[in-house]
Amino acid sequence: MKLPSIFRRTPFRLTLLFLALFAASASALLAYIYVATASEARRRADSDVRQEVSQLESIYRAQGPDGLNQALVDRTLRGGEFLFLLSDKDGKPITGNISESPIVGFTGRETWEDFRLSQTDDEGKVERRPARGVEKPLGTGERLFVGVDIGDAEQHLGRITQALWGAGALVVLLGLGGGVLISRGVERAMGNLNQVVAAVRDGDLHARAPVRGARDEFDELALNLNAMLDRLEASVAAIRHAGDAVAHDLRSPLTRMRTKLEVALIDAESGKADAVQALETALSEADGLLKTFNTVLAIARLEAAGQAPNQTVFDAADLAADLAELYEYSAEEHGIDFQAEIQKQLPMMGAREFVAQALANLIDNALKYTPEGGAVMLRARRKASGEVEFSITDTGPGVPEEDRQRVVQRFVRLENSRSEPGSGLGLSLVAAVAHAHGGRLELDEGPGVVDGKGPGLRVALVFPPA
């Protein structure tokens, strides 16, 4: 996919913004340093000059013009940083180390001035250096000029400024380069994430974002994105599986019903069977099919959701007692000794309706497969682990160990049970209910072979503690 131009990418824009801010504040800082240093240099020059002037003035006051003249000659000979010029009242130079006063149009009052000093160095190159000085009238009308060369300070300042500009340029360059690099890195991370999102948008749920191992927010985003996709993919797969399962599971009962209807039609046409009776049979077949459909749908939904809906805390003891009461007479009718052993107070968390149905399926099964004269025992208890266990033990033929896994699957019916009515979905639903509660379904051998009966089956439905 096409990425936006570098100038439109966030990290690069941020870099530019940062650089602009940096340049502005660096310029301000530079200006401040410049002004501060320049005024400091000038202040020092002024103070030096003033000190020198006051020294010369005191000489003048003490020794008169000749004394001052002598002092100036001495100073000139001795060398030094100062420039001197003593002029008479008409401005004609008397003594000094410069030929004329740089101050033009002296008004007779103390005058400060910046000026340029032309100097010829050893190689004959003329250098103009900045200088500053003051011209002051003396008591008898002479004028004294004292100045100082501030070229060194100015040069120093210039070098600093230059260095700072250079550093600034370097920072901007490095900043831009860094910005591009950071932008690339971020863009790569974002690009990866964007690619994944685009792939998912186009229907590829397998796409996953690479985790770079940097443990930064991009990795975190990638991990979260991947977790979200895992979950989404699982849900979609579960839904697809549920749909497939429903379609698959209904094909054979539908086919069977169609065949029966066709046979009934032929029989009715040939007068072998009564049409009304054929319709009644067809109707009850359809009812059976709908029941199957509802069960398949319930199983598929439980499996797809992974969790039973509308869970509440209820007393499993109450539920077990209720169901025992519901089935008590049916068991008697079947000639089966039905007993219930229920511990008191068994709070559990679950969808009561589904748990009731699962338990009813188990009791139904036990009554269906236990021959007359047998016994069925319903127990509800809290295990040492805190789990709530419902168990139904019968004295029927049981389920051979090798078939126990299989009978839980949908539509699996063992050879010897085919004659009994049923869809082969009862245990599948029970297992689905158990899983949807984080519980399990256990199949074991019953009490064993007694008087030619048995070995029986013990089915336990175990739910985690509330």
Binding site: R301, L326, Y329, S330, E333, Q357, N361
Partner: protein
């Protein structure tokens, strides 16, 4: 008895009307919730049979609107959704009963009649009487022609429900839902066994069998 059928599936509505007419009920059909609401607001109905999912105005919204307006006519919700939460939503909206599609006519008719009848006996009763059968709801005793009948608590509840719907067919599913409060379909006919126990207590030794089996539908208590 007048029944308003609000159902967008015209074929299903026509079949439903036939079934209910056959049972002696007068029916009117509205093809969606909005029309149903207008029809219901005209008044004069004993029961509304409302499909949950319809264009323009769905069943839940329609019933909520009627209940807000103070219309207390019993409502039977029809729905293709059989999940527990769907039933809870329907009942919360103000429906009185909930029937999952597809259903047998016998089931529909029994439920519509039960709802319509419930309306007639609105006052609180302490004694129920059907023929020579008498139930004292406070003393929790049952007598038939002066002879006390000893009943288990669940048998008492079962008989109470039958007496409240005396003369009407009640289906096994209705009994399982209203007396035992289970909303699933047990494989074996547990209800039949309970009825036959109750029958042996109520009818044994009397000439007239009150607790009758209605073929293809369920049971009926006749006075």
């Amino acid at each position: 008895m007048r029944v308003l059928i609000v159902e967008d599936d015209l074929e299903a509505a026509a079949a439903m009307q036939r079934g209910l007419n056959e049972a002696g009920l007068e029916t009117t059909h509205a093809p969606d919730g909005a029309e149903g609401l207008i029809e219901a607001q005209k008044g004069g109905y004993d029961v509304y049979v409302v499909d949950r999912m319809m264009p323009r105005l769905d069943g839940v919204s329609m019933v909520e609107t009627l209940r807000r307006e103070g219309d207390q006519t019993p409502v039977l919700f029809l729905s293709a959704l059989g999940e527990v939460e769907d039933r809870v939503v329907g009942l919360k909206a103000g429906a009185d009963d909930y029937l999952v599609k597809p259903y047998a006519f016998a089931e529909l008719i029994a439920r519509v009649e039960a709802l319509a009848r419930r309306r007639e006996t609105g006052s609180v009763q302490t004694v129920l009487k059907v023929g020579d059968l008498e139930m004292d709801l406070i003393g929790r005793t049952v007598h038939r022609a002066g002879t006390e009948i000893d009943l288990q608590p669940r048998e008492f509840q079962l008989l109470e429900f039958l007496m409240r719907h005396a003369g009407q067919s009640v289906t096994r599913t209705m009994l399982l839902e209203k007396v035992w409060e289970y909303h699933f379909d047990p494989q074996t006919n547990v209800i039949d066994v309970h009825i036959s126990r109750l029958r042996s207590k109520v009818d044994k030794g009397f000439d007239k069998a009150m607790l009758q089996t209605v073929r293809g539908a369920g049971y009926r208590l006749e006075g």
